[in-house]
Symmetry: C2
Subunit: 245 residues, 2 copies
DNA sequence: CGACGGTTTGACAATCATCAAATACAGTGG
DNA sequence: CCACTGTATTTGATGATTGTCAAACCGTCG
């Protein structure tokens, strides 16, 4: 049963399963879809702004983003897409992509199974809905970061958010996780320049808040960082203790 | 048939009807819901961050926002809510508000009818879905504004977006619309200070791009402004020429 | 008239961007 | 194994956009 293409269970599937209890049928639909996976190299376009969306996708592994380019070359990454995130999932007819989706690392994606069939396919629709709500919550947080936080806070807050999101997909531990992004990409995500990212990261290292080795970031004192950067975990449903506290 | 509580058709209903073709039944459900309207004064809270959402609402008239407060008093308005916008509409169980929703002017809201009954209730679900997609599109744009535009561009881009959104609800004309917000609220929306908003608005007046009298803003040259501020209208569906060009 | 919220103005400070170059690092080919 | 190339990180010097603080002004309302 092990799939040659990937590890036993791609992180993306783990995340969806963690969002809502799935029936065996739903789980099977996901596994089946994941078997039809497609690999895209870093910098590849998963979705083109303004173009009609053929089918929604699940990001099984790797990092991607929704990006915008201004006329003069400035770029803003509106959100990062991590394993388990849905790409181009809309509930209306003939949806058009409202952003370009770009692979930041090599990524693996598959088509997202439609939950409509067979009485909701057991919680799949619920998982999608929770994923959508989380997506929105993180967009709102990103707006707050960009609008009202300084560079130091932005980075700190953002790192804690990454930890939280990656944890859902079973990636990383309580105080460290992979960081495959260049400082330039971080800059485009946080609305800063790569030079300023670099200097601020150095400061955070001096302050013994973070450490970075071999593409793995370590948060030395997440609690203190959370206070400094005004971070609170996202929570979108009161049902069970499902998403996380 | 005219409703004592409101004008014949509240702008919020017009917008939803403009998003997707509604069957008479759907239309009737909306009109019925609108009759149970509730008025909230400026500064009133429509939704409290972290609290469970009882029922989704439609903003029938007036302006509101989704706001965040940082520990030290800084505030960020993540998005404005205009007539026809949906408040707290999620598709999962026991949703929790991920932001505070605050009335910026006196607003009128009603409960949003559930589209699930009776075979989708004729396009109501479609209208909701398109509204959700537009909401997301505008969040992404706001992120781009905050992350990569200077004060002048932010304001210009934002004004054009307001014009576009208000037009859907039948509010304003091709080059002017009401502006009930204080410069302080504009500042919290655009990630600036009210002082800087004030100075930048003055500059835009000198440049003959905008004029402001009695709470009505006039865009003297929307095309030039669109070029300066890198603005492109939002489009979320390829179906018909529905939302707008 | 006085109080109040909002706008406007001025002087100054600070964060962050810009420009340019040096350094480190990884992969490639000789 | 070592130059070689390209990308990413780091550093320095300088300037611009925007924030901060404080006060004046203005219209409205009681």
């Amino acid at each position: 049963m092990t799939n040659a293409n990937q590890q036993a269970v791609p992180p993306g599937i783990s995340r969806l399963a963690a969002l809502a209890p799935l029936t065996p049928a739903a789980r099977q639909a996901l596994d089946l879809a994941a078997r039809q996976a497609r690999t895209v190299k870093a910098r590849g376009e998963l979705q083109v702004e303004g173009r009609e969306i053929r089918a929604p996708m699940i990001l099984l592994s790797g990092w991607a983003c929704r990006a915008f380019n201004l006329a003069d070359g400035r770029r803003q990454i509106a959100s990062l897409l991590l394993p388990g995130d849905l790409i181009g999932m809309y509930n209306h007819e003939a949806p058009i992509a409202n952003a370009s989706v770009i692979a930041l690392t090599e990524v693996v994606v598959c088509e997202a199974p439609q939950p409509r069939e067979a009485a909701d396919l057991g919680g799949l629709a619920e998982a999608y809905a929770i994923s959508a709500a989380l997506d929105q919550a993180y967009l709102l947080r990103n707006i707050t970061r960009l609008g009202r936080m300084d560079a130091y806070e932005r980075i700190g807050n953002w790192l804690l958010e990454l930890r939280e999101r990656l944890a859902l997909a079973g990636i990383g531990s309580s105080n460290q996780f992979p960081m495959p992004l260049t400082q330039e990409v971080m800059a485009d995500t946080l609305g800063l320049t790569s030079v300023h990212i670099n200097r601020t990261l150095q400061q955070m290292r001096k302050d013994n808040l973070i450490a970075l080795q071999n593409g793995v970031i370590t948060l030395a004192d997440p609690a203190r960082l959370a206070t400094l950067a005004d971070h609170h975990p996202a929570c979108v449903t009161a049902a069970g203790s499902r998403p996380e506290g």
